[in-house]
Structures are given as structure tokens and as C-alpha cells.
Amino acid sequence: MSRILDTLRYSKDHEWVRIEGEKAYVGITDHAQDELGEIVFVELPPIGERYKKDEEISSIESVKAASPIINPIEGVVLEANEDLDGSPELINEDCYANHLYVLGSFSQEDYDSMMDSTEYASYLASL
């Protein structure tokens, strides 16, 4: 059973978003990290670029696959989690404590349209 936090919003591509003031933290869900398996590389997005909702922003490689990261809400990349550069396994250890990147000037509307934890749980159950 995948771990789902009540405080987050979720996308169908298995990304989560957490809002803290003016910043939106983006990561991948427990389901996603479990499907990927042992993660060996996280490509970080370029700082300062604006990405739309559903735009491919970077990628994650595991020992068995290479998957794109689909940006869940429109915004400008403020920071990328550089801890992942040398330690991509942090995602496997705790995918909710280790975000991928932070967006600023993000779309509240896009955020509001994301699934809450209950909806995401039933979405997972339907897969």
C-alpha cells in the first residue's frame, strides 16, 4: 500500500505539490518511486525558466527505466533540490521529505484542480 499524505495535492502523473507561502514544492509520490525502483539519477530543471502545467520539465532514471517528470502546475523554477545530485536514492528513502524543485509565481488554479489525498487514493485503486 502506497503512502499518501493528507497535506498534499496530487497529479495523475504521480507528482505531489505542497504550498508554503509563495513557494510550491514539487516531488514524486510513493507510488511513483516504488514503480521506478532504485533511482540512480535525477535530472534537475533549469532555474528561472517558466513551465506550463503538463509540460515535461526533467527526468528520473532508475535501474529499470527512464521516466519524464511532468510539471503539475504552471510556475517559474526558483530552486532545484541539489541534494539529489549526489544522492538520488533520497527519493526512495523518503519521497515526501525530498522534493525535486520549487516553483514561484505558480498557478493557484492549477493547484486547486489537483487531486486531494482521498481522490488520489481512489485514483491509485482504479489503476
Binding site: V40, F41, E43, P46, E49, E61, A65, A66, P68
Partner: protein, 449 residues
């Protein structure tokens, strides 16, 4: 007609034609012009003995003209130690399959690893791949990398002084894509980078040194300018020249490409050749093609294996960095053996001698009436000679050929441009002896006096 190796029966054929709604197999070939279709089978004489065939082929081969080569234009007559042919002909190398299975392929994997290491050392770059098909292919891969690495990049700036064939290959690559190759004009035989404009849609710049004329180009300040605009810088070079000229890494380039023909591959009437590509660390996951890495096995012993395959097509499918799924393993092996035989010292010596002998010949040709040796820029082993009239040029080439000398490559034969008609590219390698140079000079003096 019954073909012994095709298993379909007449009944199979009838069924397939019915499904296609065609009355006969010939209908499939209607788009081919009638004058191109054979009425009968291919007229090959039957019942020749092996010996008779051998003689026929030999007599055709006799028609090849041999001579002392001052031909270049991308393919050069360098000395190749006999170790290259002897070792690269070993059956375990010649018949080796792609080394997917590391435990079966340590020899080939190590050879490729050594190739990569040598290319990195020669170019002053961090990571080299296992080789590409040839120099033109390497340039196309550099362009592809540039538009993939920068978000929103649609254009690649390309110097007009790169090899004409590479420019053509880029034209082919760009057909049917959303990308654009933007030519950067030359001035007096070298690329003119003054007033270079790098927009948000420019992925990078590709240049070549020594360039299509043999000139060595100056790239001062170019890398910084490109990097300010998040664009990449690729330099294509004859790898032997890098023994004595500033390397792509030293110019601040992100990508080094070229062709290893000058390192042990011989002429072979123009191929096969072998491309190389090396990049800086940040492009590790963007470089196309195979990469061999060094590692330790479960018992702690040193081993080699294909690595970082998540970039490649068989894992990443349509999102792969490139379509290349193979490399030019045997040719890369020949380059590796060549370099191992020469050593760094030997490589520098070959590059220096090529330089000295080319400059000796250029100096003497520069004294002749009726021609100008273009020397506005420094050159390495090849230089352009401009004739005052076409008739004299033809006579020059013919007379020298009569004396067993291939005097040079007509630039127009490579570029198909009328404006290049009077330009002859003369290449001199370390292989040309003093005697051969004097023969060239004496013959040239007789024709041009």
C-alpha cells in the same frame, strides 16, 4: 520464377496478391521506370572457375592508378604501423558482436574504454563515447545534442568553413524537422564570428579547425559568449592536429567531434572511417551512443561494461538522446592500436612533421608564377593554392599525375561551387619524404614556368 531461398509457394503468392488486390507481382514495380527494369535476369556468365574470376578481378584492379598522394580534403595518407592491421585482424575482434554481455566481452570492452580514454586525452574533454560512424555523423550528433540540451532551441549556428560533406549531412538531418541550420559566413578563409547574434532559440555553434581550407581558426572569447546565452560550443578537428594545436577543451568547448581517419585508418578509397565525440561532464547524460565504463565485479576484480544505457534507444525508446544504436568498433580499435603504437611522443612527431613538410612545400609553391598560396591564416598540414586560370590548373594536375604525383584535391569537387574552381587543396603528411617533396616542386616549376 522460383528463387531457391524464398520459401513462399505459388499458392502463398496467389493469396498475398489477392489480399492486395493485384493481378501480378509486376504491378508492385509499376512505379519504377520501364527503362530501369531488367527484361531478363542479370547477365552473369556461368561456369567460371575460381581462378578465372580471380584473374578478371585482378585485371580490373590493375586499372587503379597508384601515385604519391598530396590529396586531403578530409582523408589523408599518414604512416600506419603494421601493428594496426596485424592486431585488428584478430578473429576475436573482427567477428565480435555488440558487447551487451560484459562477462563474454572484456577484450572488446577494454579496447573501447581505451579508445574513449585516448579521445578524452587528445581533446581535453571529460567523456568520450565508443565512436560514431564518421566525422560528418559526429557533427550531426553535435547539432542534435544542442537542440535537445537547451529548452526552446530550434537553431544551430554552423560555420561555412566546416567540411562541405558535413554541411550536406546537416542539411539532410534538418529535413522534415522543426530545426534550422543557420550558416555563419566566412571571411578570407576563416569563419567570421564578429557580430555573432545568439538568440534564445539558438542551441549552439559548430565550427571546424583546421577548417575546409586547412586553416587553423581563432575562437578567443567565443565559448564565454555562447555560455552567456546557454548555448553550446562544438569544435570539429582532425584529431592528429590536436597534438600541436589548441584543443577543444582548451578553447572552452562543450563538445569535441571529428573523424579518426588520420589515426590509423588509411585511405581505402574514402572509407570506412570512424567518428569521435567527447563532451564536458555536464553533458554526461546527453552524449549519444554507447559508453563503456570501468568497474569492479563481485569479487573485486577490475572489469569493463556498457554503462549509462538509460540514454539509449533500446531503453528510452523515442525519448532517447539519438537514433544511434551502434558504433564503429573495428575502426575505433584500429585508431586505438595506432595511438598505442605511436604513443603521445609519436603522435606529436607525426603532427609536427606534417606541419613542417606542408610549410616547406607551401613556401616553394608560393614562389611560382601563375599561382597564389593562400596564407592569410596559419595552417597545419593542408593549404589552398589558387591558380590564375583553369587551363593552367588542368595542365598542372595532368602533368604531375604523369609523373606519378596526385598534386591535390580540387576544392570545387567537394563544394560543387564555381567560385572554388581555381582552388587546389594540397595536403602534406609526415609520410611524404624529402625526395617526394622535391619531385613535386621540380614538376610544378616545369609546368608553371
Amino acid at each position: 520464377m522460383i528463387y531457391p531461398y524464398i520459401p513462399h509457394t505459388d499458392e502463398d503468392r496467389a493469396q498475398m496478391l489477392e489480399a492486395l488486390g493485384l493481378s501480378s507481382v509486376d504491378r508492385l514495380f509499376e512505379v519504377v521506370g520501364e527503362d530501369l527494369l531488367l527484361e531478363d535476369s542479370v547477365p552473369i556468365a556461368h561456369r567460371r572457375t575460381e581462378d578465372e574470376v580471380q584473374r578478371m578481378i585482378d585485371s580490373i584492379a590493375q586499372r587503379n592508378i597508384r601515385g604519391i598522394s598530396f590529396l586531403g580534403g578530409g582523408c589523408y595518407d599518414h604512416i600506419i604501423p603494421s601493428t594496426v592491421k596485424a592486431l585488428s585482424s584478430l578473429p576475436s575482434f573482427v567477428t565480435a558482436y555488440t558487447p551487451y554481455q560484459a562477462e563474454m566481452s572484456q577484450g572488446l570492452l577494454q579496447a573501447i574504454f581505451e579508445f574513449q580514454s585516448m579521445i578524452c586525452e587528445i581533446t581535453s574533454m571529460d567523456i568520450a563515447n565508443a565512436s560514431l560512424y564518421d566525422g560528418s555523423h559526429a557533427i550531426v550528433e553535435a547539432a542534435l545534442l544542442m537542440v535537445n540540451a537547451k529548452r526552446g532551441a530550434k537553431k544551430v549556428l554552423v560555420s561555412e568553413t566546416i567540411h562541405p560533406f558535413a554541411l550536406k549531412a546537416l542539411g539532410t538531418w534538418v529535413l522534415g524537422t522543426e530545426y534550422e541550420v543557420v550558416p555563419i559566413r566566412e571571411k578570407d578563409g576563416v569563419v567570421d564570428l564578429s557580430g555573432l547574434v545568439i538568440g534564445d532559440d539558438v542551441g549552439g555553434l559548430i565550427v571546424q579547425s583546421p577548417n575546409r581550407y586547412g586553416f587553423v581558426e581563432d575562437y578567443s572569447g567565443i565559448a564565454d559568449l555562447l555560455h552567456e546565452h546557454k548555448a553550446l560550443f562544438a569544435i570539429s578537428s582532425d584529431p592528429l592536429s590536436l597534438a600541436i594545436q589548441k584543443t577543444p577543451g582548451q578553447w572552452g568547448a562543450d563538445i569535441a567531434v571529428g573523424d579518426t581517419q588520420s589515426l590509423g585508418l588509411g585511405l581505402s578509397f574514402g572509407g570506412p572511417s570512424c567518428g569521435y565525440m567527447a563532451v564536458k561532464q555536464p553533458l554526461l547524460r546527453r552524449i549519444p551512443g554507447r559508453l563503456v565504463g570501468i568497474t569492479t565485479d563481485a569479487e573485486g576484480r577490475r572489469g569493463f561494461t556498457l554503462t549509462l544505457q538509460a540514454r539509449e534507444q533500446h531503453i528510452k525508446r523515442e525519448r532517447a538522446t539519438s537514433n544511434i544504436c551502434s558504433n564503429q568498433a573495428l575502426a575505433a580499435l584500429m585508431t586505438t592500436i595506432h595511438l598505442s603504437s605511436l604513443g603521445w611522443h609519436g603522435m606529436v612527431e607525426a603532427a609536427r612533421q606534417s606541419y613542417a613538410k606542408a610549410h616547406y612545400l607551401a613556401h616553394h609553391l608560393g614562389q611560382l608564377p601563375g599561382v597564389e598560396v593562400m596564407n592569410a591564416h596559419p595552417f597545419w598540414c593542408e593549404f589552398p593554392v589558387v591558380f590564375h586560370d583553369a587551363k593552367r590548373m588542368r595542365k598542372f594536375l595532368q602533368e604531375l599525375r604523369n609523373e606519378g604525383i596526385f598534386a591535390g584535391v580540387r576544392l570545387s569537387a567537394l563544394t560543387r561551387k564555381d567560385t572554388d574552381e581555381l582552388v587546389l587543396l594540397v595536403a602534406v603528411t609526415e609520410k611524404r619524404s624529402r625526395e617526394e617533396l622535391e619531385m613535386y616542386i621540380a614538376a610544378a616549376q616545369r609546368v608553371m614556368k
